[in-house]
Symmetry: C2
Subunit: 259 residues, 2 copies
DNA sequence: CGCTTAATTGACACCAGTCAATACCCGTGG
DNA sequence: CCACGGGTATTGACTGGTGTCAATTAAGCG
């Protein structure tokens, strides 16, 4: 984890962290709240048989670590390269006390995380792996680099590795692979390369994933909202480069996501 | 739903509700916070194929309805006969503002609900149905009528119907039935009657359910704690009758739970 | 005693996890 | 430029657990 130091307009201390580095573990008490500027974190737990499970993703604009100590074998790690802010819990508490807007934003954002957990529970329990993956792919379009193409299709650049997807959806990399290729044969998606999918038929994808009209707790747009939290973290207007970077990646047929 | 009217020492209005009656649905806006005095509520959702899924239980001493509107086909219903208090959201908000102890209790209780949801997600994704059921049975000893016997075993009186258990653990009643009888053959439990289990080997049960030393977000004891919330709701010292009722039920070989 | 509902048991099919082998990508170094 | 190696993704063969459907038993109730 590299410390990028104090940043103008950014609360706390900013860090750039590498994929798979741990920021919160269960054995050491956690004194910090972490705010995700960019990238994706994962809340995970290792099962009794050594099998890992990803219990939740923490997305840009969200916080983790405020609520509780982690129990058991749970930990929070970076799923991609991330930029995060670390704030002392007490300091954050005082801010919450003083700033009503912040409190409101924070609550709503916590609610989003809870909704996502509810969705995950529901989908693992009630959907088949292919349905879960379809839903995940459709939902990922809202919070991962996503580029509409001239021909009406769109390119989704998948930030998560195959094992991360598999462990999130409680399945295996083999099954994920079979599903993606089946979806490709059916003409619903096209596999540009393992980290980039062209969505050819979003409607069918949503139907497969049993996605209704609602948002299912995932952020509406690919970019964080103009919230009090984001303003405080100096994040507003900072995300412009993301989409164009994807463009480049797709055009040059090179991966932008860790592979 | 029968209204028991205003009660001395109990905030809001008290209701006695029958099993399977709905108190919150997704289509009508929810203006109330519900506090569970006794009984168990279930947060549920109907899947695309008509299959129901129980996403969480709300236990005595807990509240539901504060956080959010329910989305999609979600609803909250009574899983057993319940006694609940209905409080206006605004009123509850004001109380939270004024009463720091209440705020603290409320947060901790919310945290318990979140932990339970995490456990459910983990267990559905990572455990087999028999392991899930074993864990559930062991955990149920903490919040359902539970009576230690002279011979070292204990009687657990299962408040939930088979379909509720099955839908909570994302399996079927048939599988639940097979599991209970397998556990009985193995000598881990004894099926007194379909609603009463004698736990013969709690250690093995916990090992099967992969229960560690931690509490997994379930309440420690069968009785609610002496919290600010409980004091306000006039619940403290009100639960003495529960265990003895179970005793009676078991001794007379009659069900206490809805069947 | 009949009716309804819940619980149990049996037979069967099939999805998806497991294991193993292969293909692919990309870096490095000769 | 090519060979090699490490990591990731893909594909195939196989098996077992678990859902589904149907039949049977048991329990409660009027």
């Amino acid at each position: 984890m590299r410390c990028a130091g104090k940043l103008h307009g950014c609360l706390g201390r900013r860090f750039d962290i590498e994929p798979d580095s741990e920021i919160i573990s269960d054995d050491s008490p956690n004194r910090h709240v972490w705010f995700v500027r960019s990238g994706v974190l994962r809340l995970q737990r290792y099962g009794y048989n050594g099998r890992r499970q990803v219990l939740s993703l923490i997305l840009p604009g969200e916080t983790i670590g405020y609520e509780s100590e982690l129990r058991d074998g749970m930990s929070v790690e970076a799923a991609t390269s991330c930029s995060v802010c670390r704030i002392d819990k007490r300091e954050f508490d005082q801010m919450l006390d003083r700033d009503g807007d912040l409190r409101k934003d924070f609550l709503r954002q916590q609610q989003n995380q809870l909704d996502r957990l509810l969705w995950l529970t529901w989908s693992i329990g009630g959907l088949r792996p292919d349905e879960r993956f379809s839903a995940f792919l459709a939902l990922a379009c809202r919070f991962m680099p996503f580029q509409a193409q001239p021909d009406g299709s769109s390119i989704l650049s998948m930030q998560l590795s195959r094992p991360d997807i598999a462990d999130l959806l409680s399945t295996t990399v083999e099954t994920i692979s079979r599903i993606t290729h089946r979806l490709a044969r059916t003409g619903i998606i096209e596999i540009v390369d393992p980290a980039n999918f062209r969505i050819l038929d979003m409607k069918k994808l949503c139907r497969l994933g049993r996605i209704g009209s609602d948002l299912e707790g995932f952020p509406k747009g690919p970019d964080p909202l103009n919230t009090r939290l984001n303003v405080l973290m100096g994040l507003v207007g900072d995300q412009a480069g993301r989409v164009s970077r994807v463009m480049t990646a797709v055009n040059e047929r090179r991966r932008v996501a860790p592979y």
